[in-house]
Symmetry: C2
């Protein structure tokens, strides 16, 4: 998968290696949840799912998921109230689909890009880049998870915390392996570094309005972040 990508680290090259993109993700979503979606015909379901998800991101970005009523969603998608309920079991269920999909598919996809890289420095840089590019591609998804899960059920909250802890630990472990190998400064707290990297990644997809205004691209941001982390860990 990533045999060629590291040699061209642009987001464009990255997108070509992804198993799904901003459009085809709705087909993947349909297959992941076809058992709990009442509509079985793919040609009918996938475009409607795309309408529903896009409208959900748009409306809950405007105010919040809780403030979005299913009547708003019906109006925005052009699908009737009854029609919506052929795709979701409840309003909570809609949020759960988004979160569960990310929990499984996004996390696995990201991991595939870095798992075969052994060298800690390359692996750290690649991880940062992949996470930022994923945040760029699926910005509404990540923002949704960050902003909305806390309003949800205990189960959903725990899932979100779990995802974040998993990510922090992934970065912490890369840093630790680099420290053991002597590449990175062993006096820096690896856990704090992991936490800070996650903060930087979240900063990218949460504050995209500001970066867009200032003409900072995802590639620029990844370069900056990698540089900052590299300097922090230099011996």
């Amino acid at each position: 998968m990533s045999e060629s990508w590291p040699h061209n680290s642009s987001i464009h090259a990255f997108k070509q290696k992804m198993p799904f993109n901003q459009s085809s993700i709705y087909r993947a979503l349909f297959h992941a949840f076809s058992s709990r979606i009442q509509v079985q015909r793919e040609d009918a379901a996938v475009p409607n799912l795309e309408k529903i998800l896009r409208a959900t991101f748009r409306l809950s970005g405007r105010h919040s998921f809780e403030a979005m009523s299913l009547r708003d969603l019906s109006r925005e998608t052009g699908i009737s109230m009854g029609g919506l309920y052929n795709y979701i079991g409840s309003k909570d269920d809609l949020a759960d689909m988004i979160e569960s999909f990310m929990d499984v598919h996004m996390a696995n996809t990201g991991r595939q890009f870095v798992n075969q890289i052994q060298d800690p420095r390359s692996r750290l840089e690649m991880s940062i880049r992949v996470y930022i590019y994923m945040g760029e591609m699926f910005q509404p998804w990540y923002q949704f998870i960050f902003m909305e899960t806390r309003s949800m059920t205990r189960r959903q909250k725990e899932m979100a915390k779990g995802m974040e802890i998993r990510d922090v630990n992934m970065f912490r472990e890369v840093v630790e392996s680099g420290q053991q190998q002597g590449t990175f400064d062993p006096l820096i707290d690896a856990g704090m570094v992991g936490s800070s990297i996650i903060a930087m990644i979240q900063n990218w997809y949460l504050k995209n309005w500001r970066f867009a205004k200032e003409g900072v691209s995802a590639g620029d941001y990844a370069d900056f972040t990698i540089r900052a982390v590299t300097k922090l860990l230099a011996r």
Copy 2:
């Protein structure tokens, strides 16, 4: 004000220099908004305001401000529905009090600590420390602004964006002045540094659950952040 604090940079010393703290802030709030609060007797108003604000933070932290009903707030404070409306003009107005108070008072207070420091390096370090300590002291206030404003009126959203931009620019300017003076690496984008520092500060008050679990104090976090920024800007 800060003639002695810089020589003892603990949060304890910082708290003693603050014009208000987690308790007395409600008296300050009362005086700031006495014109739009119907209850005029301070001895009645201040304790009730404290109950209302604390309960608002507690309830909107549990789910969200929008999901908090005024009946919830009434139950949690022990103040009747009608009683609440002697303190707030509307539910929106309650959020506006919180946001407006921070916009004016918090920002000014923070600025007073650093304005008389000229040396860019000291000023940068002091600023980071003050912002993190403020975030620690008034964590529910900052978290509220970060998480809830986007659900509010356009005016309130603009106010929140304005606060953030002002803070980013403050950090950007300190970095630039250090670059012009030759203290900091001039090749690092000062705007990006400012943005990253804000991200680190927000990371502190948004993820306090994780830092508490790992025994990281506000002072530890400030030290780490200052170290990271210093290394990034080193020539």
